[in-house]
Symmetry: C2
Subunit: 342 residues, 2 copies
């Protein structure tokens, strides 16, 4: 079957071309893609930062929703026509991490849509174990948020957040906003810290108390709100040195700080505070199956305000423009590509 | 009652003088001190680094053993003549940390022997809530190790170490050696990393596998021992930048890294590894009552080789010489002061 697909060709360029859909092999499922969100990682690809990994003929995309088109041999428990999302992880089950029970961060994990072709094509063929079935009445555009919401669900689950606890989210990009929403859904009393005024405006529209740490003393604000206690849970989503400084400054005794951001540089860290207040730092990466199920539940129940988070939708033919606009927009949060009619 | 006491008078000087023993007030207990170990913190006092906190007329010491001499009014459950140790923490029970269940690290914690006079005197009067009773047959010199062993018990408990797990202890000073012993007692498969050859020799005498990371590639050694998995639990006890670099390098996926050391400087840290392998960093400070009970049990059962750890014993009259020798000795591990005849 001939389909449309968007190929990353290097040099900040996507090209939409006809290609042959990959027929599902044994244990695989072909999914007709409805929507696919543009992830921060996809933006890194666009900028050429991941050329060594993805090459110059890659179909990216993993934040998707779709409908099952065809089942390969030996696939049980799924049906053609079901609304689905894909958990885009293909682990190496023989590595020590998988054997210890953590295949989602296995040593030689393949990430679908980076290490293999992804969802910016009308038919995406994936291993059946990556499929999660959606409720029949879920909107397909909203469902494209499930992958990033699952990241936030994983972060919040690893934080062991309890209802009524004080939460600070450092960084108000898409993942920070989703962490804030999922933490609020779990009963957290959330403050979002962000320096970008456009993002602060979105966070306030979503009902969050916010602090711009360039203008206000974040530590003092949190201490005043918590009677000198500090935040029980902190999400570091900024990936910045000021964020790493703030995460220990606002933390209560025995606080859990979740490291969501990717710190490519090695920042300095106030390890003394870890000792002094018995803080915990918890690294969190991608998701496990239960995080996907939780994300489906939250998107279905409106715990994530999908219509506010989705700031742009473009057809696949306009993918180049969508990346360029997202790259330069101060107000965009989540930009979706409508890959095909489903 | 007139007793002998050692006063820190600044300028690397201890002076032993007669003084009046403090009679126990309501809720207090007077303890006749047998032995008192010299802690790294006491050495900081000796070097003048803590003059602002301790002043120039302080009796230091908190790693002690003794026998109850007198009970103040309203003290129940204790008897004159009992062998005891003191858990030298006097918390502020009204602060948020205490209210959250962590009085051992309360915001305004008083540490006995630093913020108040300590155990380098023949009679030490302390709040009754700090007392732990010892088995009748425990040796008083061995019992002086219970305080630092309780530190190690706290570190190992917070690590959630399971029998059979691979452990790396980074730093082979007294606390590192004790962490290694308590981790081994808990069933850990321990490797100790240390650059000081004299300390390595002691660790080997104690039966530990050791690595000198100045001579061998610690990460490669641990990977080879664990089939590429890495260490499940890491104790960072070195307080050094190379130690902070090593703690992430040797860690397995989802490893727990316990921050035991006091990092006065802010080191750089490989936060990417926390994200990538979902590592956990756990700050650990002093101890809780159950750690003291565990330490008493381990010292009693020989899980800590007290005779090897205690490398010197000096009478109170020689405290000045004991500090000077410990300061310059490459082979000393734990130096005790025999404070009085008990």
């Amino acid at each position: 079957m001939t389909i449309n697909a968007a190929f990353y060709r290097g040099n900040k360029t996507f090209v939409v071309e006809k290609t042959e859909a990959q027929a599902p092999g044994a244990g695989e499922v072909a999914v007709r893609v409805a929507y696919c969100g543009i992830c921060g990682t996809d933006m890194h690809v666009f900028h050429g930062n991941m050329d060594a990994r993805v090459g110059h003929n890659r179909i990216v995309g993993h934040e998707m929703s779709g409908v099952i088109e065809t089942l390969g041999d030996g696939v049980d428990g799924l049906k053609v026509g079901q609304k689905v999302v894909v958990r885009p992880l293909d682990p190496d089950l023989e590595c020590p991490a998988s054997k210890a029970g953590y295949p989602h961060i296995s040593h030689n994990l393949k990430f679908l849509g980076l290490d293999t072709d992804g969802a910016m094509q009308e038919i995406w063929t994936v291993p059946a174990h990556t499929i999660h079935v959606l409720p029949d009445d879920m909107r397909m555009d909203h469902a494209a948020l499930i992958e990033p919401v699952a990241v936030a669900c994983h972060d919040v689950r690893l934080s062991e957040l309890q209802p009524g606890e004080d939460v600070v989210v450092i960084g108000g990009g898409p993942i920070g906003i989703l962490c804030a929403m999922v933490a609020r859904d779990a009963g957290g009393n959330v403050v979002l810290s962000e320096v970008n005024e456009a993002r602060l405006a979105i966070a306030e529209k979503l009902g969050f108390d916010t602090v711009n740490p360039a203008k206000e003393d974040l530590k003092a604000v949190i201490e005043a709100r918590t009677g000198g206690k500090g935040a029980d849970v902190v999400f570091e989503v900024s990936g910045s040195q000021p964020g790493v400084d703030a995460m220990t400054a606002v933390a209560a005794t025995r606080a859990r700080i979740v490291m969501v951001a990717i710190h490519a540089q090695k920042p300095t860290i106030d390890l003394f505070q870890f000792f002094w207040r018995e803080l915990k730092l918890i690294g969190a990466r991608v998701y496990e199956p239960e995080d996907y199920e939780k994300a489906i539940e939250i998107v279905k129940n409106g715990g994530v305000d999908a219509d506010t988070v989705i700031t742009d939708v473009s057809p696949l033919a306009d993918i180049q423009k969508a990346f360029e606009e997202l790259d330069s927009s101060p107000t965009a949060l989540k930009s979706l590509i409508k890959v095909g009619d489903v």
